[in-house]
Amino acid sequence: MEYAIKVTDLCKVYPDFALDNVSFAVPKGCIMGFIGENGAGKSTTIKAMLNLIHRNSGTVEILGMDLDSHEKEIKERIGVVFDECCFHDNLTPADISKILGNIYQSWDGKLYQTYLARFGLGEKKKIKEFSRGMKMKLGIAAALAHKPDVLILDEATSGLDPIVREEILDIFLDFIQDEKHAILISSHITSDLDKIADYLTFIHHGKIVFSAGRDELMDSMGVVKCGAEDIAGIERDQIIRFRKNQFGCEVLVRDKRAVAALHPEMVIDPVTTESIMLFYSRGEEL
C-alpha cells in the first residue's frame, strides 16, 4: 500500500504533556480521521508533522519524502487548514491570491477563483465581513488552489453549523475522488468523521490507542449491554473497556461476533466513533 503520510515514533515532550511514540500512516486515496478529546495531542501532532514545533524524536514522511530533508517540496504539495482563519481581517480574497501566488510555485489563480465562486465568496469583500463558515471556506479554497496532493486539516469544521459542515465535507469527498490524494482531518466532531473517514486514528493522553480502518472497527467492535455481574462471564481478552451506569454495564468488546456466539443471550449494539471515543476516554479497564 502506498502511503501519503507516514508518522513513526513521534515524540514531543512538554513539562505537562508529551506525545509518546505517535505512529500512524494515511494511505493514498483515503481520508483519515484523527480523533481524541480536547488536549489529547491532535493539534500538537499536526504541528510536529508540519515542523511548526520541534520534535524530540521520530520521523515524518509525506508523499514518500522525509520532512526534515524535503520540507519545502513537501509543503509545496500539501494544503493546510487550521481551526481559525489566519488571514488578517483587512485583506480580501483577491489579496490572498496575490500573496499566495508569490509563495506557491503551482498556485492557480483561476482555480482559486473557481473555488471562491463555488463557495459564494466575494473576491473584493474584506475578510472581516465574512462569517466563520465563510472564513473556513476561504481557508479551504486557499489550501486547494495550488493543487495539493495531501490536505491536513486541524479542527477545520469545529464551530461551524451543520449545513456549512456538510458542504465542506462534500468538498473533501470530491478532493479524494482522485486516488492520488489523501486527507488527514483532526476533529472531535465524530459525526463528521462517520460520514467521510476511511480510517480512524485515536489519540489519548498523547498516545495512539488505535489506528485502523473505520469499517473494520465498526464491523468488529460492539457494545454489550449487561448487568455489572455479567462482565465476569465475558472473555477477558474480548473486553476493551467498560462503563457502569444506573441500569448496569456497557462493555466495549473487540469481536462482537465471537462474543455473540459465546453469549447469545447478551444484547450487542453496534459501535459509533463517538462511543469508541467515550469508552477509551471515560471507560474503565478490567
Partner: protein, 205 residues
Amino acid sequence: MNGLLLKDWIYLRPAIGMMAVVIVVCMVLFVPWGVSSVAFLVATAMVLLLPVNAMALDTSSRWERYALALPLSRREILAARYVFSCLCLGAAALVCGAAAVGSVVFLNGYDLLGVSPLVWWTGCVGAALLMLDLMLAVYFVYRMNVGILLFLVLCFAPIAAVYWRHLLISEMLGVWAGIFAVLGLSGLWVSWRVALRAFERWDVS
C-alpha cells in the same frame, strides 16, 4: 519572500500612505525654517510604527503559524520581516536625506544648535535603525508586543535629552550621530543573528 513582502505592503498600504503625507507635510513645514531635525525625528519615529504594526497584525491573526505551514523556510520568513522593516526605514531615510541635502545646498541651512542637517539626519536614521534592531530582536526572542517598547523609548528620549543636556552641545552631536549610525548598522547583524537563532528554535503555541 516576495509574497511575504507583498503581504506586509497590502496590510500596511493605508498606514504607509498616511505616514508619507505626514512626513512630506513635516518637511514642508520645518525644513525651510531650518529645523529639519524635527521632521527627521517625526519621520523616523513614525516609520518605526510600521514593523510594530505588521508584527501586531501577524500575532493577532496567528499568521506565523500559517506562514510556517507554507513552502517557506524560517530564515525566509524572518528575512522578509527584516527586509520590509529596513525598506520602510530606508525610504524614510531617502526622503529625509534628500531634504537634508536640499537644506544644505539650497538654503545654506543650519539646524538646531547650529549643527548641519546632515548630522541630524545621520543621528536620526542611526538611532531609528538601532531601535529597529532592538525591536526585531526583542520580538523574536520574547514574542512580546514591541509597540510598548517603542512607546517607552519615545517617552524616555526627551527626558534623557533634558537630563543629559550638557552632552547635547553642537560639538558632541556629530559624535553622537556617528555612534548611532555605527551602532545601528552593526546592531542589524547582531539583531538578525539573535532573532534567527530564537526563531529557528521557536515552537508555535
